[in-house]
Amino acid sequence: MKAAVVVFPGSNREHDVAKALERASGSAPKLIWHGDAGLDDKYDLIVLPGGFSYGDYLRCGAMAAHSPITRDIIRQASSGTPVLGICNGFQILTETGLLPGALMRNASLKFASRYVTMRVEATNTMFTSRYKAGQELSVPVAHGDGNYFADDETLDRLEDEGRVAFRYVKGQNPNGASRDIAGILNAKRNVLGLMPHPENATDPLLGSTDGKALFDSLASAIS
């Protein structure tokens, strides 16, 4: 696997996801600074990590969505390269339009950092093939703006097309997201955005390894 983790000013979970990818695939991804030459076609996975790109100023993900490197990401996503956006990465993906909807301030108006249980809703994707349908995962969340919102028509379409990848189980929604949505796919199913941090649930010493299969799925789909 040749993965690229794109680092914006203010990204802060790039090393966490890089370690999870390396553990799953055996090869370390390349960390790519947004201001460097751009993203050429040699990568077979692009990851947008968690953090506070541009300080979350203006709106979470809004400025990163207009960074020159993001044009390369959009082009490659359109040509089928898998793209994974976690937390701030998910916010950036909705700001670029690669994924529909928006992530609003948590309904509690507070940052939410805790383990939540989410259910795998779609297993026919390169991100989730190693999970069982309906499997429940314990994964940490850490965000202030994870309240997924889209109009009813969009939400219905996501449901009908099987594009809701992960859903918080009843009573575990940490942010007020519509229909308990934790992660969604694009129509071509090569772009996944999710708020929880599977990369921080890959080490038995830290409590949960439920996020590991996501990276294993990618490693086996791409290798």
Binding site: P9, R13, G51, Y57, K110, S113, T202, L205
Partner: protein, 727 residues
């Protein structure tokens, strides 16, 4: 330049004697800019003029100490060429006036202290004190402080992993926000602040300088009164995004060998950073203030020197290395400006618009700062407590205690802090100490901060010792070997002899405990004048400790793991109820002397517990502190969702045995087959060990009461959300 006057000096918080001292060391009258510089450098906050003579008595050395007090942070060796860099600092006064920004910039400031030394911050802790829960400001202050700590730390990408919170009426007008940062560095890449050598470029990096925070250090060196809220403009505004860039840029530059010295601009900004660097390096510094990046036009020399704008650093580079440094800071989109040069004159010389606006011998600002041996008096010791009344029902008492302000769950707070980032948080908040794996190794560090202010108020010497031993015990209880501490000494007005007496005796207590436990003080901070209208806070010497374990997978935690295990109490239970939470919460009495400290027993019992953990004999371990044995057992039961049945010794007075706060004690669970062997081994080591019951069921059964875990859970988890959500 017009000459400054005595009246202006008094307005700057200097005394008439201090004004005369300035005239003497300068041998002339200072101008207004120079007066400003003296006023901040000689403020209590920067000069430690009331505390220094006492702080010198603290033990600061051990074979594993690389850097003790005197630099931006302390440094200890954890083997394999790795070092832990840590310090705790207060941001009390600003946090009361503007809780979000005050707390946020407190976090930012202590992080800079740590990464200035070449360390990447890997964990944050905080110790918070608020007024009475139903005081009209408390809810607003809690909510703002917690959001500010989270807002800054979360954006920086550093997990906030442990802390403590108390509520007491003495903090109604002066809350305490003490933040501790822990960083990881290489032992051969520790950066210091001594600007040695002449002719080297002095470089300013980070944010631009604005008019915010002017006189912050002076504000932090005075009492509050009813007009204190007018001081809001002296509170700085934090920008964690810029600090994150500054962190990455500094660490990138530190990977080269271009830096001679580096110092963050904290309290008193450009003034204290330039003076301290020159003073430690035995050099002088000449600055051209026209080159200082400014946020606003028309800033005067006085404003630039006294600004406390955040996220700024001052560095001295090797000559010729400016271009490569500049490239790094440009990459991170930060200001970079060569604003001066080191000299051999030992003078701080400032030029602005072609004029020399200040010319002061560096030693006058640093070494010749006033130093006071303030008069102090021994505080009155409280009468010892007679027999304390028993509760009607032990179960009701437990429920009341576990849902009381000082014991209830802090989940509402710590769930606003990112605890999992960096992927090394082995033990998150809620246990005795946080456990953080050292990335890429099997080593772990244990971190905790502690103090019990009501004990310190009742007896400053014993209470301060207790703060040290409780920190030591919490680190021991997760299986780590305690190595060193940072201290954050929060007190009232040192010009009152009774307050100074608290301070002097507390420092003595810390010193004695640290010596007995080989637990040296490597960094610290003093915050005085925590008073409003003459009402001082409870004396609060917060201790932040760091411990090390060779195999982090062997750490212990508080949760009961399985039913039918034996519950052991290590350490002697006498049933000391003086100054206990039981007495305060059940009977409304803050009376008696704090529990006595036996440092030899602490060490013996702690080493015994640590050896059991290392040998894998324990399944759960918890230190016994606030609320006593029964509260500790209840916390273990709630964490593991497994109940317990306790049997008291026949001769014990139940409520004293269950709620007494005797020190040097731990609760352990062990397999029932191991219990007798452990009790026998303890006896050989002169360590008291007592079987008090067994785990199991869904209730705590004790002294004729049966308390369902669900009721305990509701009381424990319910209190803080109820306080905070009642708007």
């Amino acid at each position: 330049m017009t000459e400054a006057t005595l009246d202006q000096a008094l307005e700057h918080g200097l005394s008439e004697d201090e004004w005369k001292r300035i005239l003497r060391v300068l041998n002339r009258t200072p101008n207004f800019t120079e007066l400003g510089i003296f006023s901040v450098m000689w403020s209590e906050h920067c000069s430690y003029k009331s505390s220094r003579v006492h702080l010198r008595t603290l033990p600061t050395k051990a074979p594993w100490v690389i850097q003790g007090p005197g630099e931006n942070a302390g440094v200890i060796d954890i083997g394999d060429g790795q070092a832990i860099v840590f310090k705790m600092e207060s941001h009390n006064h600003p946090s009361y006036i503007e809780p979000y920004q005050g707390a946020a910039t407190g976090v930012g400031g202590i992080m800079r202290d740590v990464f200035t030394m070449g360390a990447r911050p890997i964990a944050m802790l905080n110790a918070l004190r608020f007024g009475e829960p139903d005081h009209p400001k408390t809810q607003h202050l809690v909510s703002g402080v917690v959001a500010g700590i989270g807002g800054y730390g979360n954006c920086m990408g550093v997990p906030t992993v442990a802390g403590e919170v108390n509520f007491h009426r003495s903090y109604n007008g002066n809350i305490l926000v003490n933040a501790m940062c822990v960083g990881l560095a290489h032992t051969d890449k520790i950066f210091k602040s001594a600007a040695e050598g002449a002719g080297n470029p002095v470089v300013y990096v980070g944010s631009k300088t604005g008019r915010d925070g002017i006189h912050g250090a002076t504000m932090a060196s005075a009492e509050f009164d009813d007009a204190s809220e007018e001081k809001r403009p002296t509170v700085q505004v934090g920008d964690p995004f810029t600090e994150k860039l500054l962190l990455e840029a500094c660490l990138e530059l530190m990977a080269t060998d271009a830096i001679i010295a580096i110092q963050d601009m904290g309290a008193a900004g450009l003034t204290s950073s330039s003076c301290e660097m020159a003073d430690k390096g035995g050099s002088g510094i000449e600055l051209d203030l026209d080159k200082v990046p400014c946020r606003e036009t028309g800033m005067t020399a006085y404003e630039m020197m006294l600004s406390e704008s955040q996220e700024r650093m001052l560095m001295v580079l090797k000559p010729g290395r400016e271009p490569e440094a500049e490239r790094i800071f440009q990459k991170w989109e930060l200001d970079f400006a060569v604003i001066g040069v080191t000299t051999d004159t030992k003078r701080l010389v400032l030029k602005h618009k072609g004029e020399t606006v200040a010319d002061i011998p560096v030693t006058a600002l640093a070494d010749e700062a006033p130093l006071y041996e303030r008069p102090w008096e021994e505080p009155k010791h409280p009468a010892s407590l007679g027999a304390a009344p028993a509760p009607k029902d032990v179960g009701d008492a437990l429920i009341k205690l576990i849902g009381s302000p000082d014991l209830a769950s802090r989940r509402w707070i710590y769930e606003q802090y990112d605890t999992t980032i960096m992927g090394n948080t082995v033990q998150r908040p809620g246990g005795d100490a946080a456990v953080i794996r050292i990335d890429g190794t099997n080593k772990g560090i244990a971190l905790k901060c502690d103090v019990t202010p009501r004990y310190v108020e009742a007896d400053p010497y014993v209470g301060a010792m207790q703060a040290v031993v409780e920190t030591w015990r919490n680190i021991t209880a997760v299986g780590a070997t305690p190595l060193a501490i940072t201290d954050n000494l929060n007190f009232g007005n040192p010009q009152r002899p009774e307050i100074m007496g608290q301070f002097v005796l507390a420092v003595r207590g810390i010193g004695d405990a640290c010596r007995a436990l080989d637990f040296p003080v490597v960094s610290g901070n003093v915050s005085l004048y925590n008073e409003t209208n003459g009402q001082a806070i409870l004396p609060t010497p917060t201790i932040g400790g760091v411990g090390l374990m060779a195999d982090v997978s062997r750490h212990a935690s508080v949760a009961f793991k399985a039913p039918s295990e034996t519950i052991l109490v290590i350490g002697q239970t006498k049933g000391h109820l003086g100054q206990s939470l039981y007495l305060r919460e059940m009977h409304g009495r803050e009376e008696g002397s704090p529990p006595p400290i036996d440092l030899k027993a602490e060490r013996r019992n702690g080493e015994f517990v640590r050896s059991l953990i290392a040998a894998g004999h324990t399944t759960a371990v918890h230190d016994i502190s606030d609320g006593g044995l029964l509260v500790a057992v209840a916390e273990m039961a709630l964490a593991g969702n497994i109940g317990a049945e306790l049997h008291l010794p026949a001769e014990a007075t139940p409520h004293a045995f269950l709620f007494g706060e005797d020190q040097a004690r731990y609760v352990l669970t062990v397999s029932s087959t191991m219990a007798d062997r452990i009790v026998a081994e303890a006896a050989k080591e002169q360590v008291p060990a007592l079987k008090v019951g067994a785990t199991g069921g869904a209730a705590i059964v004790v002294a004729g009461s049966q308390i369902p875990l669900s009721r305990l859970q509701d009381a424990y988890e319910g209190w803080l959300p109820k306080l905070m959500d009642a708007a």
